[in-house]
Symmetry: C2
Subunit: 164 residues, 2 copies
Amino acid sequence: MARRSLKLAGREIEEPEDGDAAAVELISLSDIVGYALRRAQMAVFEDFGRRFAALNLSPAQYSTLATIGDNPGRKQSEISAALGIQRPNFVVLMDELERRGLAERTRSGDDRRSNALALTASGVELLKRARALQGEQEAAVEAILGGEERKTLVAALRKLAREI
Amino acid sequence: MARRSLKLAGREIEEPEDGDAAAVELISLSDIVGYALRRAQMAVFEDFGRRFAALNLSPAQYSTLATIGDNPGRKQSEISAALGIQRPNFVVLMDELERRGLAERTRSGDDRRSNALALTASGVELLKRARALQGEQEAAVEAILGGEERKTLVAALRKLAREI
DNA sequence: GGGATTTAGTTATGAATAATAACGAATACC
DNA sequence: GGTATTCGTTATTATTCATAACTAAATCCC
């Protein structure tokens, strides 16, 4: 049977048949780095959400705990800047970590404007468990891409973030 | 001079010296795909924002115009599903594109619940200019990574988004 | 044929994330 | 010593994303 034609926006176009129904094509987007980045990030963060549901940690909270763990005693503004989080938003993030007893702010001795950040004992312990979960996600990625290409991917992403 | 020690969260740690000030280390995050993805996506979207400022198009608006252009006459829900955008959110996105005269909804003949989407003439024209800008961003990425690795990156991202 | 179910688009609303302005306290500058 | 700057904070707004519920139309199915 003939395709039905449809007048849209002043132009005649072919109306898609039923057989096409499942196949909306993203041809213009399929080769675009920005779009592929967004879809991949959404998928990986959803996976993160499932894995970390038991620990009740968001990606931002995990990255904060890990960075404080790597750099104990650093100023709040140094940690937030390293993570690319705006200072006002980092305040509420720290409020929550402190409320949960995972991290602490201490008024710094040599500059009493600033807070030195550190993990509490239970923060250290939670971070350990979180690192294990994170390792599982990394292993899952490696199972999909292979170890070599996973490394290549991370390197490319870092270069892109740095240089664009 | 000796390092000053600082008592934080019940443990003695070395207080970072001034020389360390610029060097908060993200060692725990530096090899994590999810974190690298996020930073790269932020950077690429910021670059997108600068390039598309004159056209006043967000990434979501651009991807919508491009997908309607590739699939004229398709149902609103088909386009939104293909883009991974929730239906309620897609409604306001389309409201704005329609308000600006770039796209149109037409009540479909064979199913009068659904909207068939199409670009207007000025939508087609704007999309053409947008594609040119997008091409420039892609060229910028290629200048950083090289053509081969850009292709590899997109392929890895798509695979990851699909399989994780 | 007609009532129950499902689907498409919409509205309203809420949660989460991110960006900006402005303030007090402490420090640095000169 | 007075001005300017920095750190953390509050308040506020914008943006993005997710959920529930409604209407109109189509489908199911007996």
